[in-house]
Symmetry: D3
């Protein structure tokens, strides 16, 4: 299998916030947004591995600005790193006020997908080779985020997470 | 404001997996499940604080077993701890195969909501007093999960997270 | 086949009233509620008989209080009695105003389901043994409601409905 | 207010059965059909009274033939009788197999609507004058069905339902 | 195959404009209407040819009057002419204000469908024999519209479209 | 008002074909696609004019290749020319088979939007200045397409459409 670049898996999605997507304040509900993000991330993972992928996990998501009824939602998804049979997908989400003509950040997130063959067994995926500085930073951080996922999923003990441990001795923000 | 118990905010939701909720394998898509979980969690938070709440963040979710087309989805949501103007809601999700008559675990998750008044400003919420052993464990863990949220959201430096730091010196699983 | 208790088939469903569920007054449309009730009842029937059930009939439903946009809808479904290949499911529906923190009754209803095997032929279902006083009352009333269904469906002549006939000589309310 | 004829309130609705409308047998779920019927009936009631109507009750519905995925659903709704502030709407529902070119009956039903003014108070509606034999038969039966509704809703005692009582001494089918 | 009349393929559809169907002005979005029209037209084409049809093309649609939230939408679809394996369907769309009791025109359109057999290959369809004056006018115009479709689809050169060419020398409106 | 470039109004939308979007062949229904295209086009028009736009008309659409269940749909929308209060939006649509990793063309279309102010009156929009060769070609063709729209909408006589008339003397394809 030939390695792929993050650009190969870029998905750009735009949605319009309709009444049924909103809470009583007229703002997009977090759950609807996570639904759209899941589809964007799944498409991105499938572009990388050419088979169906299923959502294995979703990392912490923090919603920064509410997105209003009638605003546009822009989602960009790109694979950051491929492991054996899984892929981490990075998502960036913005709202856009079309009358005032400005974009505002909503959130950033990481979804992990497992590639499955026709018998629903995990299947090896091509490796990913980052190109830009931003892609390399995301590629490097993927290991650390993976340790955190394993710890939070109860599959690794905190004391064994070498990379994360170093970090907690440190004063920089995790990303 | 009178303190409330976790039982006051219990929400039990049941959904049926319909064709449009599934991927090509005929299994529930993660995004649709997160949408339902968001509604269950929002209702639970509103039962606690009596005003509208908006999703502030969602912690790591790891999907364990796929839920099949035609199966039932059971979601239980309950507030674990109230902070100043925010509440952490714990969700447990099961699938149920109605022909074979068994339930299987899908995932567990924590959603955080901020209470808003009519002017969309954060509003103080009643405190929560846990009763059962399970509720006390969740109440205690809420502080640690909050630190992790702040770190992952870039609002706290890992070196300052006293509780988490201790944990990384340790060998127990986080939950 | 082992008899089952009503508790075995209990389904608790919670829904949030979204804009598309409402009429121009901002109240839940009856049809949307009957759709949710049908799913709750179908899941309850399937829990009882372990095979797929299809809606055979729905008894009179009378809507008492409108449920508002943004309110929660609570549906409880439980099998009341099993006949040869069919089951009667009792539903109780409440709205809940989450700001004012009170529940109000919306309606009560009976849905009847027929169990089907893989060839879509009616299939025998386990019998039901009521436990509580409330369950026994519902179990007894099921015969009378069944006669009424048969009469209304043109499959029984009113003069032959012994139980109902007695009732019309009487002054008590049917339930 | 001028009296109206049933023809003034005729609504003809056609829907296509899509995957999300079906159970695991690929047949239309009863709940989806009741949702469509509610909309057809509401439109019919509004054509009669020129104000918004809300569903007050639904009479017994018995589903005769399953409607398949990909088939058309035809619904005809017409007001049968107007009471003070309420209207009874009669619905006839057919499925249509478009490949084999035949229509088959699904069910017949009666929905009752209450007309509301802008303050959500019941509002008087025009009377209805039936024209055809079929319309007159439905008009006459409306009184009897109304007594049954009142009894089943616990608002009338069976012993007081003169029309129905006579019927139970009789051997004809109710319709 | 026996010829059919336009009346054989008449489809009458009624929809209610719900919140999610509207833009921020509270008017029906064009795209939702085209979705409903596509279903009405597909059902009409299938009534004509007894096999599945797929949308091949849609002619110019011009939206005349906005349809408001809560109004009814009436769609009438009828086959105007059958070609070898395709059918042209004519649609007339009205909105209806139920409070003020008037209908207003929304648009008229032509959708073209191709009949497919079980192997998804184009399949010959019965011919159509128009009866009324209106049907004959639509039947005749179908040839001209077909030329325009072929030109706009890049499959015919304008100079070869004899019928259309004559028209452009003329001063009558095309319909 | 400052002129804008087509790039200012570029919208890129990606959707996943779910079961409810498909016909019995498992292919995307034309009507669903036109719905998505309408939203993409509306967002593009709003990016150009900074106010709400409503769909005024849709030009001929010809569907070339069916898009399968589970495939991705890519829609690109861009304003081609601004008239006084209206804008023509050009859309290009592709399907993408994610397993075989290829894109295939579905269709191209032109939607026209009218900008409305807060009182729902048509509002002047900025002019558009095309930059690339492709944009200039689309800009020039917009006049011709507009004449055709006016003729088809019965608002211009064919004999008066100077540009189109010349074309019909010619042998080139219209686009």
């Amino acid at each position: 299998m030939q390695p792929k670049s993050p650009a190969d898996s870029l998905i750009t999605m735009t949605e319009l916030v309709l009444p049924n997507d909103t809470n009583l304040f007229g703002n997009l509900m977090g759950g609807r947004l996570m639904y759209w993000m899941d589809i964007a991330a799944a498409l991105s993972a499938q572009k990388h591995c050419s088979v169906l992928g299923v959502t294995a996990s979703v990392d912490n998501i923090s919603f920064e600005n509410p997105i209003k009824l009638g605003d546009a939602v822009h989602i960009e998804a790109k694979v950051t790193r491929a492991f054996n049979t899984s892929m981490e997908v990075h998502l960036r989400v913005w709202g856009e006020d079309l009358s005032q003509q400005f974009r505002y950040k909503s959130n950033e997130a990481y979804y992990t997908f497992v590639a499955l063959d026709a018998n629903r067994k995990p299947k090896a995926v091509p490796s990913l080779e980052p190109t830009t500085e931003d892609e390399k930073r995301l590629f490097d951080g993927a290991l650390r985020r993976r340790q955190l996922r394993l710890i939070l999923g109860g599959k690794m003990k905190p004391g064994e997470a070498a990379e994360l441990k170093a970090l907690f001795a440190d004063t920089k923000a995790i990303d």
